[in-house]
């Protein structure tokens, strides 16, 4: 930062330029920047800047391919569900290798476990639910560990599945007294189910019971009659149909088309300690996600991720999920190509919607600076740069207004989160 520091290599100088540019962007003028540095010292200034802007990632981005990968051999955690498709397929289909990495994907048994494996550093990066990096960074339902979420994995791809005895159910109102499962408190499943029920006049905390159950156990619970239904990731919705235990009541895309679900995340200190590794991993994931977006590749992908080492599911079942041609358990053969889709771009507005729901249902009590948290955790501009560097089209804005398909207030404006929460008659905050 200071003029006195020797410039040892081009890499260093690029890094310094980036720091300078960021400082300039924040303070607007050289004078104010100097004043700030005089107050807190050069090192202190960088620490403070780093807390509001992911400098490590930005430096790696600016350097492009110049930096060598610091750590080639990596462990990436995943939960065996189709949401993790890009993370998993990147191993057998060679996306990690293509970007210079030797990655082994490690199957974890549940979301609490995947959180702890990642916090404890047993995995380098991990599959997560999109609300989790936000919650962990804020210390909600976890110890506080700063996380970054460079990319969304899948959009859509979840469903409300009900037990066969509820074939007469038409809307949320008919679900009073039901017992539901969701995979985790801090999941889109929980927030979408609550949203859906509340829009139908059912209070999710009073009129029904919502339990956290690991997805693989949901089918067994449905079979045993322990629960009436669940909003869960696939393949466990389709699996209920496959086993003849339930039917698909509603796809999650009919609540919010294009909603985010699962994500790729890492501890912030991993991204900073190994910026080039993080960058390569980021690219591999975006690359794989983009490949999965093409519906023509879905059959090939279903075969690649079906084996016991990965999802451990029948390939035909995965094909039904990934291609969107599936029996719904009510005797219909459906054809919904966007039943699940893959799109890496982590809109800040997605994070803000998730935060509004966490606030709405009382998962976070404190005041929330929605924009700040969204910017810190969801690396939208970095993702745009990576998408462009790979030659893919990327959205121009970090935030957007989201259109819902279900509910009274169908437009979510990320600029007015507090008003949005107040617009719901059923809420805890």
């Amino acid at each position: 930062m200071t003029k006195e520091r020797k410039i040892e290599s081009t890499e260093m100088s690029i890094a310094n330029k980036v720091e300078e540019a960021v400082a300039y962007a924040i303070f607007g003028s050289e004078v104010r920047r100097r004043e700030f540095i005089r107050m807190v010292g050069a090192a202190g200034a960088m620490t403070i800047l780093d807390s509001v802007f992911p400098l490590g990632a930005a430096k790696a981005l600016a350097q492009e391919k110049t930096g060598p990968i610091e750590k080639k051999s990596l462990k990436v955690g995943f939960i065996p569900i189709t949401c993790a498709t890009p993370i998993i397929m990147a191993e057998p289909m060679g996306f990690y290798k293509k970007h210079g990495l030797d990655v082994q994907v490690h199957k974890a048994s549940g979301w609490a476990m995947i959180r702890d494996l990642s916090i404890n550093g047993e995995t380098d990066a991990t599959h997560m639910l999109t609300p989790m990096p936000l919650a962990i960074s804020m210390g909600a339902g976890s110890q506080t560990v700063p996380f970054v979420m460079p990319a969304v994995e899948n959009i859509n791809g979840q469903a409300i599945t009900l037990a066969n005895k509820h074939k007469g159910v038409k809307e949320a109102k008919d679900m009073k007294g039901f017992k539901f499962c969701v995979p985790f408190d801090y999941s889109m499943h929980n927030f979408l189910l609550r949203y859906f029920l509340a829009e139908g006049g059912i209070d999710p905390d009073k009129d029904v019971q919502i339990r956290v159950v690991p997805p693989p156990e949901m089918v067994a619970n449905l079979r045993a009659g322990n629960v009436d239904g669940y909003l869960a990731p696939d393949p466990f919705n389709q699996r209920a149909v496959f086993e003849g235990e339930g039917f698909i009541f509603m796809l999650s895309k009919d609540i919010w088309p294009g909603h985010p679900c699962c994500a790729f995340a890492a501890r912030k200190d991993f991204a900073e300690k190994y910026p080039n590794t993080f960058q390569a991993l980021f690219k591999a994931i975006v690359d794989a996600t983009n490949y999965a977006h093409n519906t023509e590749h879905r059959q090939e992908i279903a075969k690649a991720i079906a084996p016991r080492n990965f999802l451990n599911q029948p390939a035909e079942l995965l094909e039904q999920v990934l291609t969107g041609v599936y029996p719904d358990g009510l005797g219909n053969m459906k054809n919904v190509p966007d039943r699940i889709d893959f799109d890496p771009f982590p809109y800040h507005s997605m994070a803000i919607w998730i935060l509004t729901q966490m606030k709405r249902w009382g998962y976070i009590k404190q005041d929330v600076d929605y924009k700040k948290i969204a910017q810190e955790v969801y690396l939208a501009s970095d993702c745009r740069a990576v998408m462009k560097s790979l030659g893919y089209k990327a959205p121009a804005q970090d935030s957007t207004k989201h259109q819902f398909a279900f509910g009274k207030n169908k437009t979510f404006d990320p600029n007015t989160p507090a008003e949005y929460i107040r617009s719901f008659p059923i809420r805890r905050a």
Binding site: P80, S109, A112, I119, G121, R239, R308, N312
Partner: protein, 267 residues
């Protein structure tokens, strides 16, 4: 009863066991619907299906298809390794502590309420705490084994040592044996049957706990194997793994039973 009578009684017991097993397997097989080709099988798989799956797995026990798919032999190896580490550590701690408690009734009374509170806690309940503090899933699983085997050994050792005949201790005091000799020559041998009984009980509970712990942490071990097959509702593998777990438990128990036999003494 004469020698021939004893033998024939044992033979009769074996014969009854075999008959019971055959009847059980027969009923099981008959109650299972024969799957029609092309149609998905419903209900529990039969013993024939389980046996053929078992053969498949046993004939290739050491394959390694990456971190999430290893042969049954490797998985068992991981579980046994975790068991032996956690169990030996627990035995060491519990026997030392147990001897201390057994020798000093005051200490025993002081600590007893705490032991009684900690003893009934399911070892798995410690898992989140271990994960948080140790920050390593595999070591946390070992600690779960440690907790599950600690209490039975501790209680039995303390009980055994406290029950040593005063005469033995008096004699050893009279002979002015050193502290170490007293422990090694008198106390431990005298309390050995009780200690081994504790070891035998706890190896069973440790083996029960390891399967559950591995289902939680995932990755490796027989528990993870069951969980992974459950994911796919692959019940033939699950049933085989259950039987295999029971078999390993039997072998462990048999080992300690024979150890107990060699250590019993007549007064």
């Amino acid at each position: 009863m004469d020698q021939v009578g004893v033998l024939s009684e044992r033979k009769r017991a074996i014969l009854s066991s075999v008959v019971l097993l055959t009847v059980f397997l027969g009923i099981w097989q008959l109650s299972v619907k024969t799957p029609t080709p092309g149609v998905k099988a419903e209900g529990l798989p039969g013993p024939v299906a389980v046996a053929s799956r078992a053969w498949e797995m046993v004939s290739d026990p050491f394959y390694d298809n990456g971190p999430n798919d290893k042969g049954i032999g490797i998985q068992l190896g991981y579980s046994v390794r975790r068991l032996s580490i956690g169990y030996s550590a627990a035995a060491l701690v519990a026997i030392c502590l147990g001897v201390m408690l057994g020798l000093s009734p005051g200490l025993y009374r002081a600590l007893n309420p705490y032991i009684q509170v900690l003893k009934p806690i399911s070892p798995l309940a410690w898992m989140p705490l271990f994960l948080y503090t140790i920050k390593d899933s595999s070591q946390s699983a070992i600690m779960v084994i440690f907790m599950s085997s600690l209490w039975p050994i501790l209680a039995n050792t303390a009980f055994g040592v406290a029950g040593i005949k005063r005469d033995y201790l008096n004699v050893s005091a009279l002979l002015q044996l050193s502290w170490f000799k007293r422990l090694w020559k008198v106390i431990l041998p005298a309390a050995a049957p009780a200690i081994v009984a504790g070891l035998r009980i706890s190896v069973g509970s440790a083996w029960v706990a390891i399967v559950a712990a591995e289902m939680l942490i995932g990755g490796t071990g027989i528990g993870y194997f069951v969980w992974n097959e459950w994911n796919n509702l692959q019940l033939t593998s699950v049933i085989f793994a259950i039987l295999l777990t029971g078999f390993v438990g039997l072998v462990l128990d048999f080992g300690f039973a024979s150890l107990a036999k060699t250590l019993t003494y007549k007064e």
